[in-house]
Symmetry: D2
Subunit: 342 residues, 4 copies
């Protein structure tokens, strides 16, 4: 069996999460997330984010979460600002447009949006013949594994406030971001900067499920109705609440993310020591090295991973580690890499 | 602790389902339902439904499934025909309308649609100033616990074919229906009559998840794209596939449903023996007895359940059993009922 | 040539309206309704409605106007309350649902909604599993030619205010309503009661075009953006503004409506004198008499009109007069009717 | 009064068009475009386009037409390919996205799309996580006044056919294009290449109205229903039919366009003779010269026009002529330009 570095959703769930589910037995609970497990998980998240007034909703997946939050926030003519490589713009099959809203994109090599990008888009949308940008979407960490610093996030948040824009942070990999050595901000900083953000469980130890944290009061209005309308209000909401309670207790969520980061960092160091370059600095659990195409062919015999940008001779590939990546597999990968003659 | 007869989603998951999830460990799998567990579960369902060419998709919840299937099937001006009490019409916060489509409803006391209802709606929608009905939505069993017989389903299917309408069967409680003593049809009969139907896991032993079975070739086209667009393509699709594999193997799904039905039937018999009437015959795991309001007040001290139709003196209440309902609780309920002086 | 009593859109435009268009010659004007003709027409309407702060927008047709206003007013989970026979519910091909919103209907024989209907719908929509009614839609006059009195409209408006609902009055035939002998309210009364209403030009002398009057400040926000998005912001907005200026000046709009009403009333009187009944009192330019089917067959040799409700022996038919209906045609119709042996 | 070169919608309607409307008097006609004027206009267009099987629909404006056609053609996950400057992408307030569909754009300096752009976008959209491009949108002439040649259009049409894409040509200025000295194709060539296109009346002599020509049989299905749903089926459809009958008879449509083109060409020649450059070759009724900013300031005292791209010293401006532009005003403009010291 090849080991897969394709993504951080390739293993099912952390044993503690499954154990928490099993521990419930046949105990009865309220439906639709009104149960005690879910309330407890929400409270743990509010504590972690130092956001006592935040509303927390648990949703089965990221695309669904993004479309529910964004369509709840916007009037028909309002639009989203996103980096060109934003997940909502490229990899969600037009989910946002399907709710009626345009995405205005800014070019970005590393997947990060800058305050100046936002200003430029605002300026270009001047009258009623154009959509009105109203919400800024960024990912922490980005699709290329990069993290926003406190200064970068503050600059974006300031620009949003000045222009009456909502700031929404996609946190599918927020664990990897916050636990990155290169990241100087925590959940509370994000909660303060953003009007809403989410804490991704699927890619950090949960069987499935994401926790949406709504900080801005306006965005809370009737949110459960909109969840229900989009098919996002699970009757057994407890199934996610129980998992997040397990992840948030005893630091499991952070332990998982730190392990994934450490594995990626080890890989990155080994790769550069072996003489190869990375497209971006190794900051979280995604690294993007450049390998000659024939080296890639050899590696593919033992490992699964995606190409990032392919050329005729050298290709960048995306390697992703997870909470479950065995250190042994990282060592084997580096050993195999060193054995390839350059 | 009060025992709840509010619904069949009040307990988490059958132990065998949780055991199947735990058994996977850290084994890696393909994302987005392309894994082997999911493929195996799909094959078991195709066998059960004697539908070798059917496409099977696993989706986290019923409202989401309904909106994905219906919006995939219809052009903008096309509409759904549903009984007035249909879940999509009343209890999904306008999810179908949110995808752009009107629901044309027919009055129905027991929640069943009749062929004549369909004909009447077709006839009333005659020109381009009205929507074009294109899909018929029914629930097997209905929200009131009633089952369609083979003759009833055939009459509906014939009407649909004659009028070029799709027939879609909401099977949130299809297990209870097929395993009802009053039901003379099985999964294969439904697969033959319907263009699409689903097998509900959430209410019959799964942690979460429904299995959509698409029989009509036209409806299969690009279905995964539409799943993704609506946020219904879980990255860890395996999480549902594993559960359905466990439910479909060794008859667990049918055992669960039969238990729920048996518990409801026992309750129904005890209730009529105690001198109370039922609004509809007891056919599946939902029964709707009529009790004097003061009897209801007494019962509510020990049990949770919903009112169905409230009047000043006598109210019908909805009692729902599940795969997990202990027979002891049924006995206690009946004992408590008998102790109430009429 | 048969004379048509099918509708009030069967003649092109009042000569004064066409003359006003021709008088412009090649004079240049600003695009998108920012021209002086449009501003002047809007001011005339604000004066007529005693609503100095109202925003007035000119839109090419009623269905488009309804969908723009309603979709601008509602969040995704919010719904419309309408009488069952409301134009938006039956005769607009699901235009409102196509913008994502459900219509909750109340039964009504004469097409009028009552305050109690609104209360009942509000009460039935109690939680997040159901849509949230937010806007009440009524037509003045109704599809059956009936008018709301001041007392009826006040009761509706009070109910709306108490329940934080918008009230929107479809005024496709508002001229006929306000100029009806049975109507005790004027444009100012409607402007005071409603959050928005419209003055229909198409059916009262214009070539095309309706004037939307927005009274509620909240509904005004970014309205031109939403007009543009729905394709309702004509580049030559002046083409409607010029027409409404002509209609509003010198009382032409009221003269047109009064003529249509007078013709319908004369027909109604002649019909009852000839021994036939009307389904509803003759109040505006639509009357619905009941004729034996063979009488209808004879009348159809000389006149065009629609059936309203057909039975095997007696059928109600809809007869509509307009600003252009020649009195001679009414006399001929009555003469022909009297000549039919009962 | 300043003369405006801001657009070709600044004058109301050609006198012959208004005369045709006035000639109708109080004659009655069928509603919703089923009248004889509309049928006759449709037939004249089918003849002009040598497309005897085409369906022709008359719609009040371009944005509305675009959104109706595109939303009728696509399933939920399907997308549009457009040049980045396409009207639907920039200047219609997200009208296409509001119907649920993403627009995939290609960079283009002159507003033209190339076959290679289409291929590149198709290649980049490879799986179900991305939208499926299904319709190509181009404008003939473009927003910068450029025309597609027969060879260019054929290359695009071939690419579309090979990839099962619809080709839709926005013809808001199709008259200017077809009557351009640089254009080697006529209406029949466009009808053959495209699955649908439109003939813009608003910008070429009509009071309002565009004629949509649907060539592909699939796109015709139930089209009137979708027109009605989007508020685009005028009850007095005759109001547009009469205008197009007047425009199509006796070559008025071509005369109007040729005059607009001739005026723009004369301006362009005068501008280059005066020593200024044009951003693009002068092909139709839009030209985009580059002037020093102080020259622009002087010209603005006498003339209205829009900036195209502004810099600190030299700015390109958009000058648009119409069927109504007096040659005298062109002469005056050039005289005034020559009087400005460079």
């Amino acid at each position: 069996m090849k080991h897969s570095f394709k993504s951080d959703y390739c293993e099912l769930a952390h044993p503690s999460v499954l154990a928490a589910l099993s521990a419930v037995g046949n105990a009865q609970f309220e439906g639709y997330g009104l149960d005690e497990y879910t309330q407890s998980a929400a409270e743990l998240i509010r504590l972690k984010a130092a956001a006592p007034d935040a509303e927390v909703h648990f949703i089965s997946g990221g695309t669904q979460l993004n479309l529910v939050l964004i369509s709840a926030a916007l009037r028909p003519h309002e639009a989203v600002i996103s980096p060109e490589s934003g997940h909502i713009s490229v990899h969600e099959t037009g989910a946002i447009e399907a709710t009626g809203h345009k995405i205005c994109t800014a070019k970005s090599k590393d997947g990060k949006l800058r305050a100046a990008d936002i200003e430029a888009i605002i300026e270009a949308h001047s009258d009623e013949h154009m959509v009105s940008p109203k919400l800024v979407y960024i990912s922490q960490s980005t699709e290329t594994g990069q993290v926003y610093t406190k200064a970068e996030l503050s600059a974006i948040a300031d620009t949003c406030r000045r222009n009456a824009l909502y700031l929404f942070v996609d946190g599918a990999r927020i664990g990897a971001a916050v636990n990155s050595p290169d990241c100087d901000l925590d959940y509370a900083d994000i909660a303060e900067a953003a009007d809403a953000f989410y804490i991704g469980g699927t890619k950090n130890g949960a069987l499935f499920g994401e926790a949406l944290v709504i900080c801005n009061k306006t965005l809370k209005t009737d949110f459960r109705s909109i969840l229900k309308q989009r098919g996002a209000l699970l009757s057994k909401g407890a199934a996610i609440g129980i998992q997040f309670e397990a992840l948030m207790k005893d630091g499991l969520f952070e332990t998982n993310a730190s392990h994934a980061n450490a594995m990626a960092l080890k890989m990155a160091n080994g790769i550069t020591e072996a003489g190869y370059e990375l497209l971006f600095p190794a900051q979280t659990n995604i690294i993007i090295p450049l390998f000659p195409n024939d080296a890639i062919q050899t590696l593919r015999q033992q490992y699964d991973f995606y190409d990032f940008e392919k050329t005729r001779t050298i290709t960048s590939v995306r390697l992703v580690t997870s909470w479950a990546t065995p250190e042994r597999k990282v060592d084997e990968f580096l050993e195999d890499l060193r054995n390839i003659k350059q």
